[in-house]
């Protein structure tokens, strides 16, 4: 009681909240996304990966321009300049073919550039579709629980246990291969990964007090799901979408490799690899097998490394909101000290 009285007297002094004005500058722009971007910027591996991915997107967008500059179309067979007299592909750097030619005398670099369009289209398109499906299904399943959840969760489990390749072969056999079908099939089998993660998060989020507060205000279920809960899932969605893109790119390559995806002569990294390894010409002319593989590996690696960096930066499992300011300062001091030690060690 007397504690409280003392506090009431104190209040007169503290009425002007001390941190309201003085540190205005420090508070500026401290949104969750800015904080995450600040952390990501310090992650050199993630930033290099991000740079590579941006470069890849630019290449895909400006593919016609680039091939025009190179002077070789992706599907043109350069039978005179692209193949030697005995029909051996031209090695990298000869006759103006930077990465050489393939067994039909086509420019490998131009084909890789055009292949990046297919890879990104399928990777990003299928992932976007999977993301929308996964978010909606996961939110509905986790929020409502009960029999809705039982049905949706079982459905996701069934899809996850399906052999995607066998299913894709069956579908392509029925409808014939096409890019749209490819995107659809890949999305159908990748959304349950996101759906399951989202569902778990939503089950935790729906018990939070801010959801209760929204309910006390009379908010509708749809409003709670998509205005209260969904913004808290974006970090998770961004991370897993980044990690799902390379998986979907590889799936596309696999299906194209099996002749179920993009049909020749359209270039895709998957069917370039498939065509290259059919004969044994690659034992002499290694480049038209190796370069598409390198492109695929680098792209997959870049997306994976960026995804890891994003996970560290967005830190969804230890949400920053739970960390008290003192802990944050202590943690920052600790990492600063560690950084100093590290750089000191390197110099020595």
């Amino acid at each position: 009681m007397s504690l409280l009285r003392a506090a009431v007297e104190l209040e007169v002094i503290e009425e002007q909240n001390p941190d309201a004005k003085g540190t205005e500058q420090a508070f500026e722009g401290r949104t969750p996304w800015r904080l995450a971007w600040g952390r990501l910027k310090k992650d050199r591996v993630a930033m290099v990966s991000l740079g590579f991915i941006v470069f890849l997107f630019l290449v895909a967008i400006f593919a016609p321009l680039l091939t025009a500059l190179i002077g070789h179309g992706p599907n043109t067979q350069y039978t005179t300049s692209g193949l030697s007299l005995s029909g051996i592909p031209v090695a990298p750097g000869h006759n103006g073919f930077l990465l050489g030619t393939d067994d039909q005398g086509r420019d490998v670099l131009s084909r890789i550039i055009y292949g990046s369009r297919i890879s990104l289209e399928v990777g990003v398109g299928a992932t976007a579709l999977a993301l929308v499906l996964g978010l909606v299904m996961g939110i509905v399943s986790g929020y409502y629980g009960g029999w809705i959840d039982s049905i949706l969760a079982r459905f996701m489990d069934i899809l996850l246990s399906f052999p995607i390749l066998l299913f894709a072969i069956a579908i392509v056999a029925r409808f014939g291969p096409s890019l749209d079908l490819l995107i659809f099939v890949i999305a159908m089998f990748s959304w349950p990964y996101i759906g399951r993660l989202v569902r778990g998060q939503v089950i935790a989020l729906r018990e939070r007090e801010f959801v209760e507060a929204a309910r006390a205000l009379g908010s509708s279920d749809v409003r709670i799901m998509f205005i209260e809960i969904a913004p808290n899932l974006i970090a998770l969605a961004v991370i897993y979408a980044t990690l799902l893109i390379p998986i979907n790119i590889v799936t596309e390559a696999t299906l194209s490799f099996l002749g179920l995806g993009v049909l020749p002569p359209t270039a895709s990294w998957g069917n370039m690899i498939a065509e290259a390894q059919t004969g044994d010409l690659f034992t002499v002319a290694w480049w038209f097998l190796v370069f598409p593989c390198v492109a695929l590996v680098l792209t997959t690696l870049a997306f994976n490394l960026l995804g890891d960096g994003l996970r560290d930066a967005l830190d969804p499992r230890h949400g920053r909101s739970n960390i008290t300011p003192t802990k944050r300062v202590k943690r920052a001091a600790r990492s600063a000290r560690r950084e100093k030690d590290d750089s000191g060690g390197k110099r020595a």
Binding site: M1, V8, E209, G218
Partner: protein, 372 residues
């Protein structure tokens, strides 16, 4: 279960309008288990027959240990949980049977302030957006009008309206609780249920928030249900107090009456636990009564009086017969106690002999005086 009539429950001066009536409200949570088929094999009796009523402009302080059902009761009053049985009447209308659409006007008039100012604000939404929710859910207003209202609201609770675009993480605990209060206040409600609104805050900030709540009460004629376990806070804000133990009210009455003349041994022990800074204020009455043992599980509460295993005055009847919540001889109207052997004024509870009162399943050595 209360046998008291409504007349007994209200404070005297009966001309004021009754705003809220809670009538024998029960909430049981099922305990489920089983891998394939859910089987209910037990239930948590979180709230087990609570009745009280509140008049316009009044503040009811609800106190009790953690886990005694205070917060559950708050969520029953605000209709966040459905009741198992009993009735909650707001302005005479039973809100326990209403569907979602019928509930909407009630939602405008009954609001809640939550305990944890870190958990009750969505970390991914800007404060302006959080505070515009009440308007976008209930009113049809232009964007500019909503913004004006929100900034007015922020100014009213002592926040800078320019901080409209900030995220909750950019505010201190006390400022966040102000945001929570602003949200509850937005639609000019009649009743605000405050679920431990200050227990997560520093003492100096607590006083600010309590003063804000009191100012707002005067300004908007608010009625509060104020839940807390800090007894000095409750004494400061409440007109009446209700003491809860294991899902039941054990004592209720006007605030000074409860503090100066507590009749239930549980209330007495609770009050004796309030720290007194100045030894000169210590009276003989304020001997420390230390309860031993833990609060029994609400899944399987003790028979008879739920407090009897820990009660220094318990006798055989306490284990078998549940005492009704009623006015004890000599008490003013409105002071109700659920006890077979209420504490008499000046009775040294700490020295109450247990030799003559061997209650079954009693915890031995329940009392101890701590005083130099």
């Amino acid at each position: 279960m209360s046998t008291a009539t409504q007349g007994d429950l209200a404070v005297d001066g009966t001309d004021a309008k009754v705003l809220l009536e809670v009538d024998d409200v029960v909430k049981h949570f099922p305990v489920r288990s089983g891998a394939l088929i859910d089987r209910t094999h037990a239930k948590v009796r979180a709230v087990d027959g609570v009745s009280f009523s509140l008049k316009v402009g009044e503040t009811l302080g609800l106190v009790g240990e953690s886990g005694c059902g205070k917060s559950t009761l708050a969520r029953l009053v605000t209709a966040l949980h459905p009741v198992t049985s009993g009735h909650v009447r707001f302005r005479g209308q039973d809100i326990t049977a209403l569907n979602r659409r019928q509930m909407r006007p009630i939602r405008k008039s009954v609001q809640m302030v939550f305990q944890d100012p870190y958990g009750s604000l969505n970390p991914r939404r800007r404060v302006g957006s959080i505070l515009s929710d009440p308007f976008s859910v209930h009113e049809k207003m232009s964007r500019a009008e909503v913004k004006r209202q929100v900034q007015e609201l922020m100014a009213r609770v002592g926040l800078s309206p320019e901080h409209y675009n900030r995220f909750p993480s950019e505010f201190s605990g006390g400022q966040r609780q102000r945001i929570g209060i602003a949200r509850a206040l937005a639609l000019r409600p009649d009743l605000i249920v405050c679920d431990e609104p200050v227990s997560a805050l520093d003492v100096s900030i607590q006083a600010q928030i309590i003063n804000l709540l009191e100012d707002l009460q005067d300004e908007f004629m608010l009625t509060y249900v104020f839940i807390a376990h800090d007894l000095s806070v409750v004494r400061h804000v409440s007109d009446r107090i209700a003491v809860m133990y294991l899902g039941k009210l054990v004592e209720t009455g006007p605030v000074e009456e409860i503090y100066s003349n507590s009749r239930h041994p549980y209330t007495a022990s609770l009050l004796s636990a309030v720290p007194v800074a100045d030894q000169a204020f210590r009276t003989a009455r304020r001997e420390r009564v230390i309860l031993t043992g833990d609060v029994p599980s609400p899944v399987n509460p003790p028979s008879g009086c739920r407090f009897h295993p820990r009660c220094p005055k318990a006798q055989a009847i306490c284990a078998t017969q549940e005492p009704p919540l009623e006015r004890k001889p000599g008490d003013p109207i409105g002071h109700l106690t659920a006890c077979h052997f209420p504490v008499n004024p000046g009775e040294p509870l700490a020295n109450a002999s247990r030799d003559a009162a061997p209650a079954p399943a009693a915890v031995v050595g329940a009392t101890e005086a701590v005083d130099q």
